[in-house]
């Protein structure tokens, strides 16, 4: 297995809006640490799922991986090449694509679909003899009729807009597509269409997908391996089937148990987790999860655990849990 994208010890900060004094004085501006010590390897042609609640840093991680936001520490390597190498950023942009969370907002309202999905060729100065033919081919690839090329984004349904964004992401045959909440806002009868399309594209073209979602049932069906993020740190990684069958981290276990079950025979009476995700501004000391953890011991309040391999292919950040 070759590595497609490697992250090692990655941290990322976002600037905080300071007051007038900090803006005028030449001292360090206040920053909010969002991601901390992320080490992760995406393999070629694999679908990787990134799970976390709002405020866990999922979207920031995607932006940092695409070079849309800077990393404050650590290394990013795309296809074996560090991003700090000359010209590497350009090759990263050429070889990756993003499907944004809100498909309609990510399409220019003044551009017809045909222009929008062939714009990547112009941006990357790729020769394109017949723009119209390419637009029709890309639309066919995502199962849309040629007539869609002449439409404006507001004339598309939610499912069609998703497909158009998928077509645009695939335009330059990227090695990696990052899909941020690919089924958000879609009805359950339509979301299967998008997930099936992504899995076909993976099989036919070897596209690697990073799917970011808070919807566990979507991740469970599409991803081969998953990583769970809590307050900007990875708490558990491993093959999807194994993690769902036997979650090690207490947070992973409570996430899985929290998913409402449509089967009334399996209705739950207890509560898997209490409290809410703390603010990044007040990141708990020690293990971030200790404020809500059923296992928390005194050491968890002071000492942050590190991510360690606990079984082949499975890593865990916890002092107490394990296989």
């Amino acid at each position: 297995m070759t590595a497609l994208y490697e992250l090692s010890g990655l941290s990322a900060d976002l600037p905080l809006p300071g007051d007038l004094l900090t803006a005028l004085l030449p001292m360090r501006k206040p920053r909010l640490n969002v991601l901390q010590d992320i080490t992760l390897t995406l393999r070629k042609g694999e679908t990787f799922g990134l799970v976390g609640e709002s405020g866990s840093g999922k979207t920031t991680l995607a932006r940092v991986m695409l070079g849309l936001a800077p990393a404050s520490m650590g290394e990013r390597r795309f296809q074996g090449e560090p991003l700090s190498a000359p010209g590497a950023m350009a090759r990263l942009r050429r070889g990756t694509a993003m499907m944004f969370q809100d498909p309609v907002a990510s399409l220019s309202p003044r551009m017809r679909v045909g222009e929008a999905i062939t714009e990547p060729f112009a941006i990357h100065r790729e020769g394109l003899p017949d723009r119209r033919a390419m637009a029709i081919e890309l639309l066919a690839r995502v199962g849309l009729p040629p007539a869609i090329a002449a439409r404006y984004p507001h004339e598309l349904s939610g499912g069609q807009a998703r497909r158009v964004c998928t077509a645009r992401a695939l335009a330059l045959n990227p090695a990696l597509v990052i899909a941020d909440e690919p089924t958000a806002g879609l009805d359950v009868s339509i979301q299967g269409e998008i997930l099936n399309l992504m899995s076909d594209l993976k099989d036919e073209r070897g596209v690697g997908f990073l799917i970011i979602s808070h919807n566990l049932s979507v991740i469970r069906h599409t991803a081969e391996r998953i990583a769970i993020l809590y307050l900007g740190r990875l708490v558990e990684t491993g093959p999807t089937a194994e993690v769902f069958a036997q979650p090690f981290h207490p947070y992973t276990a409570s996430l899985i148990a929290s998913e409402p079950n449509p089967d009334p025979r399996r209705r739950r009476a207890d509560l898997a987790i209490r409290g809410e995700i703390p603010s990044l501004l007040r990141r708990p000391k020690g293990c971030e999860f200790h404020t809500r953890c059923p296992l928390a011991a005194p050491q968890c309040r002071t000492l942050a655990p590190t991510l360690r391999e606990v079984a082949p292919g499975r890593s865990l950040r916890c002092h107490l849990a394990g296989p």
Partner: protein
């Protein structure tokens, strides 16, 4: 059997040419949690608005919405306003916009009790007790907070407290957990489950999420294109669905599909245009069992005492 607390009869709501609700009938008894489930465009939100007598301006409404005997739609607005809060209250999907941003939570919860002839301190005490009941940590402090100072989950708890404040017999919740993360969703569902035991009335939950229905409801109405296509107990709807749409909807839910199955099932086709709805079964164009007779309105077949499905093909 007692008279249902909520009776909706042949409710029709149109926005200009668009017929959003096309003859929906349903009821809810005291002590029951009733789910209304459907996908976008099925008329769920239109129904929710009609249940509290607040149809969108310009909508054409016909039919009955009886709450404890009074037809909400036939009453003049002042009488309708009196029923809201006293007999029916709503938990909205987005609690941020359901509260006034420039008043503290305490001031609003006191205002909501304006019909009670009690001293302000007593109203404040009731507001505080209700906030404590729905699990807001430090309710005294919460009374002084503005809505933007609360997290999403706390806001939804406050919205539930506001709805329960006047102890209305009918509580309508429109997508009460859609805006929340899964761990917070589980906590709000748990709270609603606890409250249903204390609350003497009926709760109507409108949602697109089958998981919410499975966790909370006793009976379910499945809606498609402005009509109720199937009703039954939650057990019947999930384990022996009759209508082809209900079956397809449950089959599509990723939580239902076994893991590792390559492709997820989908429902091919689109919801019909409600400006020109089909004369017969609205689902016929997407239905695997459809035949020529589906061009006329399907009969409502009864399966046992509680389950009804509107379909030609699934005769009992």
């Amino acid at each position: 059997m007692t008279e249902p607390l909520l009776q909706v009869r042949d409710l029709r709501v149109a926005y200009g040419p668009v017929q959003a609700l096309r003859g929906a009938s349903l009821n809810a008894r005291a002590g029951e949690v009733v789910g209304i489930v459907g996908e976008s465009g099925c008329g769920k939100s239109t129904l929710a608005a009609a249940l509290i007598g607040l149809p969108a301006p310009g909508a054409t409404v016909s039919g009955e919405v009886r709450i404890g005997g009074d037809d909400l739609l036939a009453l003049p607005e002042p009488a309708r306003r009196r029923l809201r809060g006293e007999r029916v209250a709503m938990i909205f999907q987005d609690p941020m916009t359901a509260f006034n941003p420039v008043l503290t939570l305490g001031d609003q919860l006191i205002d909501f009790q304006h019909r009670l002839a009690e001293p302000r301190a007593a109203k404040r005490g009731r507001a505080r007790a209700m906030l404590a009941r729905v699990g807001l940590p430090d309710p005294d402090l919460a009374l002084h907070r503005y809505v933007h100072e609360l997290s999403g989950g706390m806001r939804q708890r406050a919205a539930i407290a506001a709805a329960l404040l006047m102890r209305p017999p009918l509580l309508v919740a429109d997508e009460p957990t859609t805006a929340l993360d899964v761990t917070m969703e589980a906590q709000i569902l748990h709270l609603l489950r606890e409250l249903r035991g204390e609350h003497q009335g009926a709760i109507v939950i409108i949602t697109h999420h089958l998981g919410v229905v499975g966790e909370l409801c006793d009976r379910v109405y499945v809606m498609y294109a402005g009509e109720v296509v199937e009703e039954g107990t939650v057990e019947e709807i999930y384990h022996t669905p009759r209508h082809p749409y209900t079956r397809a909807l449950i089959a599509c839910d990723p939580a239902h599909v076994a893991q590792g199955q390559g492709h997820l099932p989908t429902i091919p086709g689109r919801v019909p245009d409600l400006a020109a709805p089909p004369a017969g079964c609205a689902f016929a164009a997407r239905c695997p069992l459809a035949s020529a007779r589906c061009a006329t309105p399907p009969p409502r077949h009864r399966f046992g005492p509680t389950q009804v499905a509107a379909c030609y093909a699934v005769a009992p």
